[in-house]
Point group: C2
Chain length 542, copies 2
């Protein structure tokens, strides 16, 4: 890492920003005035390669923006990003690199890691994905009863499905799936129960995604799937494929399956959509060529994130504004509001990507943090959100919003007009109006209809719902997240915060297992609350 | 309303709670110690009619709880709730009652409103729903081409679909739908484009839900649906039904349709699931008898919310704890985490119900509020959430969590075991473990693995996914929301905060319409940002 000072508060720019924020708040600078300053939009917006970012309605001015760039320089954000891309050990707690960008790198000849070329390994897996999915589509690979595949169930949780589900749901608007995907993340048996209503067991593939092949939920759902296959007289060797680490218990040939596709230690779960984790299911659904187009979109954004100078670097600026909003203006949350139903699953993906990466309690050198790291992310598509929680956004406790617009919808058949505009035009009228209303507000004599305004937002535009555009959007959120982590001096690649729950769940599981074996186990050694819940679980009634 | 003092800060209990919170924070009372105090679980949990609420892991003690009940009494919360149920004008800004409880009231003989009996009017609509949906199910009512109906598209936004979608998705785990529902809230044309891929126009009903029949999005989607019917040579009179106010433009016979089902002024959108808004689609999907069972569940909770004394009143206590967490402990958000995939759509519904009801800037008497009203609501089902944002929940900025457990899953066919437990048992092991881990935390020498704990949560249990249990859960969130509004001295039934966006969108729509008519309109009268977006919209490219 570039700097030894991992606490962001030790940088001069941070101190300067603190005093800038104090005077900014004290002067009570209102957004309705800020957005009318000269050349505001020109100075506070950027366009690159069919991706547009407008931060003119953020509560910043020239001096603040300048100092934010200074903060990026003092924390060596760009240098660290380049180190990440070239394979340095940026994930210091787990002592490994974070090479998700290598999964879509079409420019570097090689990235050496322990004398092995990462690019060669990635290309090998992609070739395997291409060949396997073509054989499924060409009906060369079929199920036990000789029928060709129509559906695939993805068994994987967290980073093993959220990104893939986002891309799948976004692309299926424009590309008819060759294979329908279903997602089974939850150990909840009713998640399984609903999915098997929708599939024909004879024409269904099961994709098991787990790096270690020990993830509790995934293994429990795998066992449930194996029982289901057995009861339907189907051979797992014809119906199961795995995405897992080399030599894990799920890797062929130790595991009987149609094949294994390798995940690598150097790509973390929540950054893994461009690897086999997204590659296999998405290529099954849309064909490998479309997955390749998606990778190209990711790569375009990666190149921008690496090469653009601070002042033109969209993911970096987004990260700086996020830090400004959470650490200096004290906003506790960010809403992501795509004016696009196809992007409904973007927010759950970014919620994981961002909150798991940045919700940390220690800096890179193991010191307890004394500043905010990340914020809560939530959101629903607009205009739906306007009829849901936007009452709160306008008149309740304020929070920043990230709007996303898509220039061209997919649907191109007969379209009605209402009040003289098409539905897509109506959608955009609302997108534009909300950002303006939140910023400007409105005064009236009736307090119930008073809008304080001064509520910040950014607006992102992408051109369409093609694989390239979705790839750019995905890589944008990845780059912005790691940039924010680098500037905050924390590790955006580990997730030790999930460990305690696992340990405690294991203790309770043991109690349940004992009771399954010996019905006389009465949980009296446990605290009252835990005993209460376990008694009810076994009584099967409140 | 019972009290003239609408500002919660004017109550003695509020002042007392302020000083209690200061000493509580100063004493640094940790939850790991609190939960071990004598009879903690017995004193801080409640069970009623197959509904359990455990608030033993909230950061409160006996003195705080006592004072919270005092706050409820001083704000006349229970009295106001009873007034609401009996039809008093509790929605003061819009000068009308809020009688959603009447939609499932099986005990009161009559509720008079302007000399009309509300109960009779509601029963009339329910009879009409029963008869109509039976005729659909019995195939007496068919589409233009003589085929019987298999699908219905609900066109409605906000309160006209979120609650219904929650109940539909929860119940379909246990009850096979007779008619499949699809939801078309968004004016995004791709929302429409995806739905028509899934339906056969000849066997599809369209349910248009809008009280005024002027909601922009709903009318735009109606026009799109009418064009679609026309292009498929189908008669709207055979394929459209409306849920709307008497004498609105969508009311039969002024509108050509299969029939109209009336909505009433005295039931607000976000509280309308038990009215025809939920009644018609849910009865189509599951039969009127199941909708009736759902109403009974709602009513059971309503009776509890009305009759239980403060100390035993679950929705009231939940509201008090919510106020404690947001106004005294300064938490900015609440996560709702059902350990149940079937409840995936509960959070988006409650997000609207709660944030639109409580995200207000004025008290009942029109004074600008100087305290927090409501909080951000977000969430995903567990265990999924554990692999998403629970890193942040354990080690990032803390927020309270509401866990929900379901004692009995629906799926009852062959079940596998893993590590000696069933999937449902594994789910519960995690549900119990998370609440414990968040409260207790854990100390280690490695700061990266340090869990500060002291993070509050509640746990709600329902027995199953029957219509009765889902009704109780829905009515619980309604009662808890209005209780919080009453105590905060705000109006939980209006939503003036959505007006500004509508006005501004209308201005922009006019600009777009002008350009549609006259291509030379070049938006030069508009601000740079707005012009930028409109130029791109018409250029169809970034």
């Amino acid at each position: 890492m570039g700097s030894k000072k991992f606490n962001i508060r030790n940088h001069q720019a941070y101190t300067n920003l603190k005093s800038l924020s104090k005077s900014f708040i004290k002067k009570n600078v209102h957004l309705k005035n800020l957005i009318q300053t000269k050349n505001r939009f020109e100075k506070f917006s950027l366009q690159m390669n069919d991706f547009s970012y407008d931060f003119s309605k953020q509560r910043i001015d020239d001096a603040i923006l300048k100092e934010l760039f200074e903060l990026a320089r003092q924390t060596n954000a760009k240098e660290t990003f380049s180190q990440m891309v070239s394979g340095k050990t940026v994930n210091t707690t787990e002592k490994r690199p974070a090479l998700h960008t290598a999964a879509r790198d079409f420019t570097q000849d090689q990235i050496l890691l322990n004398d092995k070329d990462v690019i060669i390994e990635i290309n090998k897996v992609n070739k395997q994905i291409k060949s396997f999915t073509e054989n499924i589509h060409n009906k060369k690979i079929k199920g036990t009863t000789g029928k060709f595949f129509t559906d695939a169930v993805v068994i994987g949780i967290g980073g093993s499905y959220l990104g893939c589900k986002f891309v799948y749901s976004a692309l299926q608007h424009g590309i008819e799936p060759l294979i329908n995907l279903h997602f089974l993340p939850n150990v909840d048996i009713d998640n399984f129960g609903q999915i098997i209503k929708k599939i024909n067991p004879e024409t269904c593939l099961w994709i098991i995604i787990s790096k270690s092949y020990t993830t509790i939920e995934t293994m429990a759902n795998l066992n449930q799937a194996l029982l289901f296959l057995k009861n339907n007289h189907l051979d797992p060797a014809n119906h199961i494929v795995t995405v897992t680490a080399k030599d894990s218990p799920g890797d062929e040939p130790s595991n009987s399956s149609l094949g294994s596709f390798h995940m690598f230690d150097f790509i973390g779960g929540r950054y893994s959509v461009a690897s086999a984790v997204g590659g296999l299911p998405l290529s099954l659904a849309f064909g490998f060529d479309n997955f390749h187009r998606f990778l190209k979109g990711c790569h375009t954004m990666d190149l921008h994130a690496i090469n653009a100078p601070e002042e033109n670097n969209i993911p970096l600026i987004t990260a700086l504004i996020s830090i400004w909003n959470s650490n200096f203006l004290d906003y506790p949350a960010l809403a992501i509001i795509p004016y696009c139903t196809a992007l409904s699953n973007l927010c759950p993906h970014v919620q994981q990507l961002y909150m798991e990466s940045l919700g940390k309690g220690v800096t890179h050198d193991g010191k307890i943090t004394d500043h905010r790291t990340g914020t809560i992310i939530f959101g629903e598509p607009g205009t739906n959100a306007q009829h849901s929680f936007f009452q709160f956004a306008h008149q309740g406790s304020p929070f920043p919003i990230e709007f996303i617009g898509v220039v061209n919808p997919v649907y191109n058949k007969a379209q009605a007009t209402s009040k003289g505009v098409s539905n897509h035009q109506e959608l955009w009228a609302n997108l534009i109006a909300q950002a303006t209303g939140l910023a400007k507000g409105n005064k009236t004599n009736n307090n119930a209809k008073y809008f304080p305004g001064n509520r910040p937002s950014s607006t992102i535009l992408i051109n369409d719902l093609t694989p390239e555009s979705i790839g750019m959007l995905l890589a944008f959120y990845e780059a912005r997240t790691v940039y924010e982590g680098f500037i905050l001096g924390i590790n955006p690649f580990d997730q030790f915060g999930v460990e305690l729950g696992k340990v405690l769940a294991s203790d309770i599981r043991n109690q349940i297992r004992q009771k399954n074996i010996n019905k006389t186990n009465d949980f009296t050694s446990l605290d009252t609350a835990t005993k209460f819940y376990l008694d009810i679980l076994f009584k099967e009634s409140l």
